[in-house]
C-alpha cells in the first residue's frame, strides 16, 4: 500500500505521541508509526509513579501517563500504525515500513523522529569473567517482571544508581528478590535524591559509591560478582575487593539514543536539533530520548509537542528559519540541548554539568542570562528558558557553569 501525508511521526512513546498530537492540532495530516503492538514506549513497563508532574500536574504511573496521551489522540484524525517497523527513510521524503500485511511506502512532507533510546548493555563494558546467564539490563528485567510475570532471579546486585537502577532495586526487593546492593562508579548517586531515599534507604539496600564491577563468575548461571573501590580517576584501588554471591546482575549503565534508520543527518550521538527541534535536514525534526536522554517524560513530551508543531508548520510552508545561532558548550557543561537556536522562537535549554557543584552559576553569553542553582549534579538536568532575541548578527552563544563560593 502507498500512503501520503503531511507529517509522519516515527515512534509512539511519550515523545512521539505528544508530537503527533501537536502536529494534528496545527492542522497537519499525521501518521504515527510504532513498531510495538502498543504505543507508549518505555512508559509501558514503568509501573511506578513519578510521571507527569509537570506536564499534567498529576503524579501518574508510566501506563497512566500513556493512557492520558492516548485518550487525547483518540479524539483526533491521526492515523496510528502499530506493529509497523520502519526499514528505511530516504532523502526524497519517502519511508518504507513492514508489517504483517506487507511492505508499504509513505510519502510525506515532514518527519518527526521520536525513536527513543536503547539500553547500554553490560557486555559493552568489557568486564572480564565467565559468560553466564543471569546478566540483564534493567529494561529486560523490568519486562520480565512487570509485563510477563516472570521472575529472573533469586538474589541480585545492581550496577548503576541512576533512577532506573534505583527503581529496579525497589521493584526486585518488593517481588522477593534479595537485592544485595547497588554499585555506582561515581562518588555520588546517579538518580534523584527522592529515589535514593524511597528505593534504597527505606528498604536498607546498601549503596556502594565509587565502586565498580571487576569480574563476573559462574558455571552457566551467574554465581559471584567481584566489586572493587575506585579512585578519583576511576582506577581500581587494590585490596578493596568485595565478593557478592548473587545469581543476577541487573545493569543500568546508560541509555543510547536511537537514530536508526535515518543515516543522513547530524548526530552526536543523538539527533542534533535546534530549539524548534529541526535537524540538519530541514524536513526532519526530532524529539525525546533520540536527541538526548531526558530525566523526565514531562520534558520529552514537551519537546515532542514542539517538534510536532514545527513539523506541521514546515509541511504547510509556514516555517522557514532565517537564521540559526549555534549554542556552544562552555566550561563545565557536559550535555547541552538544543545545539542551534532560531532566535525568533522561544528556547528551552537543557543541560547537564560535568561535575558536582555545591552552588553553581550558569551563564548564557552574550545574552546576559544568569541562573543560580543549589547542588548541581551531572545526573540532574537543568532547564533554562530563553526568550526570542532580536540580535540578527549573533552567530554563537555560549553556556558555562562555575562554582560560587
Amino acid at each position: 500500500m502507498k500512503y501520503e501525508t503531511d507529517v509522519v511521526v516515527l515512534g509512539g512513546g511519550g515523545g512521539g505521541m505528544a508530537a503527533a498530537k501537536a502536529a494534528d492540532k496545527n492542522g497537519a495530516n499525521v501518521i504515527l508509526i510504532e513498531r510495538e503492538e502498543e504505543n507508549g514506549g518505555v512508559l509501558n513497563q514503568c509501573i511506578h509513579n513519578g510521571f507527569g508532574i509537570h506536564y499534567y500536574r498529576k503524579d501518574l504511573t508510566g501506563p497512566e501517563f500513556k493512557e492520558t496521551l492516548q485518550e487525547e489522540l483518540a479524539n483526533t484524525n491521526i492515523k496510528i500504525l502499530n506493529s509497523a517497523f520502519v526499514l528505511n527513510v530516504n532523502k526524497d521524503k519517502q519511508l518504507t515500513f513492514v508489517n504483517h500485511k506487507g511492505i508499504h511506502e509513505i510519502k510525506t512532507k515532514a518527519l518527526v523522529m521520536a525513536t527513543g533510546a536503547r539500553e547500554r548493555h553490560f557486555n559493552s563494558l568489557a568486564v572480564p569473567g565467565d559468560r553466564v546467564a543471569g546478566i540483564f539490563t534493567a529494561g529486560v528485567a523490568q519486562k520480565y517482571i512487570n509485563l510477563q510475570n516472570l521472575k529472573p532471579a533469586n538474589s541480585a546486585l545492581i550496577v548503576g544508581s541512576g533512577d532506573i537502577g534505583l527503581i529496579m532495586a525497589r521493584r526486585l526487593h518488593l517481588e522477593g528478590i534479595e537485592v544485595k546492593g547497588v554499585v555506582e562508579i561515581l562518588p555520588y548517586p546517579g538518580g534523584l535524591e527522592r529515589n535514593v531515599q524511597q528505593c534504597l534507604r527505606d528498604y536498607n539496600i546498601p549503596l556502594y559509591l565509587s565502586h565498580t564491577v571487576t569480574r563476573v563468575e559462574g558455571n552457566k548461571r551467574l554465581s559471584k560478582v567481584y566489586v572493587s573501590q575506585v579512585d578519583e580517576n576511576r582506577q581500581v584501588i587494590p585490596n578493596t575487593e568485595k565478593v557478592f554471591n548473587v545469581d543476577a546482575l541487573i545493569t543500568s549503565v546508560g541509555l543510547i539514543p536511537l537514530t536508526d534508520p535515518v543515516k543522513f543527518v547530524e548526530t552526536g550521538p543523538g539527533f542534533i536539533t535546534s530549539n524548534t527541534n529541526q535537524t540538519s535536514e530541514d524536513w526532519i525534526f526530532a524529539a525525546g530520548n533520540c536527541t538526548v536522554v531526558f530525566d523526565l517524560v514531562d520534558y520529552v513530551s514537551r519537546e515532542g509537542e514542539k517538534a510536532g508543531k514545527y513539523a506541521a508548520l514546515y509541511s504547510q510552508n509556514q516555517y522557514f528559519p532565517e537564521q540559526k545561532v549555534k549554542v556552544k558548550k562552555g566550561k563545565n557543561i557536559n550535555i547541552l540541548h538544543p545545539m542551534y537556536i532560531d532566535p525568533n522562537e522561544r528556547t528551552k535549554l537543557y543541560l547537564r554539568v560535568s561535575k558536582t557543584f555545591k552552588r553553581v552559576e550558569v551563564t548564557v553569553e552574550p545574552l546576559g542570562i544568569k541562573m543560580i542553582e543549589e547542588e548541581a549534579r551531572p545526573s540532574e538536568m537543568i532547564e533554562i528558558s530563553i526568550k526570542p532575541f532580536k540580535d540578527k548578527n549573533l552567530k554563537e552563544i555560549e553556556v558555562s557553569a562555575r562554582e560560587l563560593g
Binding site: R118, H121, S124, P128, V140, N149, P152
Partner: protein, 475 residues
Amino acid sequence: MIAVIGAGIVGSLIAREINKYIEDVYIFEAKNRIAAGVTKGNSAIIHGGYDDEPGSVRAEFCYRGNKLYDEISQELSVEVKRVGSHVVALNEDDLKVIDELEKKAIQNGVKEYEILDKAELLEMEPNLNKSALRSLYCPIAAITEPWEAVIQAAKSVEINGGKVLKNKKLVEVKKKDNKFELFFEDGSSYIADLVINAAGLYADEVAKLFGDEIPYIFPRKGEYILLGKDVKYVNSVIFPTPSKITKGCLVMPTVDGGYLAGPTAQNIKSKQDLSTTQEGLLEVKEKSLRLVPTLDFSRNVVKTFAGLRPETKEKDFYIDVGGGNVIHVSGIRSPGLTAAPAIAKYVVEYLIQEKLHINLEKRKNYINHIEKVPHLVEEDYEHWKRVIQEDPDAGEMICYCNKITKKEIKEAIKNGARTLDDVKFATRASFGECQGSFCIPKILKIISEETGLRPEEVLQNEKGSWIINSEVRAI
C-alpha cells in the same frame, strides 16, 4: 552405521562427505546444541594458506580447504566473503618476516598473493597505522560464520537420511567383532561399523576410549573484543606479522558488519575455561590499536568472548586410523576451520577408502544443495512481500538491530532450536548492538509458546544456564 563424534565444523563436514556415499550416518554431539565447541569462538577466517609450516599437515589442507569454500558456500548456502587479508609490516624487522612469509607461500603452492607497498596498502586500508611499510596481501582470504556452516552441514545430513543427535556424550566404547558399541552418558548405546572421532578439544580423550594413544591436547585461550557497526574500521583482515606461536592479534570485519579484534594466545589448564581476563582484554586493545589506531574501545564495544584452541606439542593436525575401524581427527588447531572441507575429503576419499579398504559408491539420490532460510531483510522487497502474504509472521520484526522476523525465529525453532543461543546462532536475533535488550524477552516467549517448554525451562545455552526461576506471582 557410521558414527561421527562431535558436531563442530570438522565433524559436520566429514559426516556430510560420508553421507554422499552412505545414508546411515549419525553425528553424536555431547552438548545440547551443535557448533558450540571450538567452532563457536574463533576468528572465522578462511586463511589463504601461505603461512603454515611447509610440509606440515596443516599446510597441506589449508590452501585446499580455502578453495573448497566456494563449493561449501554454494552447496550449503553459507556466507563466505572473500574480503582478502593483509599481513602488515610496521617496522624494519617485520619486513624480514614478510619476506619469509613470501617464501612459505611459494613452498605451499599459494599463488594468490601480492606484496603491496605503503601507498597501495593505505589506499586499500586508510585507517591503518600510518607507519605501515608493506603488506603481504592475499585476496583469497575470506570471512564466514562458522556455526552457520555447521548448521547447514547438519541440515544436509538430516535431509539426506542421516541423524544429528544432541546431548550424546560418548563415555565408553566396547569392541564387538569388527564393530564398536558406543555408550553415551544418557544411557543410550549404538553399534557402529566405523567411527570418526572429531571431538575437538577432547579428541585425545575420546581416542583413549578406543584404546588409542594420540598426541595430548592442551587448551590455548584466545580472547576477543567485538566492536559494533557504527564506525567503518577496515575492509579486510589485518594481521600483524606472525610470531612462532600465533598469527597474532588481528583486526577484521565480521560477516554481519561488525569488527573483531583479537585473539590473545594463553596456555591454560581447563578445557572449559572460556572466561575473559583483564590482562587478555588489555592485550587485545593494545595490540589491535597498533594496527588500527582509530578503534574506539570506549564507545564501540559490543562484547568480549574467548575461544580455546586444541593444541598439541607437535603443533600440527593428527589425522589417522586408530585400532580398528576408527579414525581420529585430532589436534585441529588453527587453521582448522579453513582446512575442514579438505580434511573431510581426505578422510573419506583416502582414509576410509584406501587405508581402511572400505568401498564406497556415490549415492544417486543425494541432495547436494541445501537452502538456507534467507534473512528476509536481505531479500528484495517484492519477494519479502510475497512471503508475508503467505505468512504474516514474516512481517513482524522481533530483533530490531539485526532485523529478524518472527517467521525466521519460528523456523529456527521448527528446525530444533530450543535455547536462546540456539535461536541466536541460527538467526542472528539478539546478536546486535543492543545484545537482546529489545528482543530476548520476546524470543523466550516464542520458544515457550512454540515448544510447550515453560519459561523456567528455556535456557540460555547449556544445562544450568536458566533465565527464569518462577512466576512472580501465581495468576
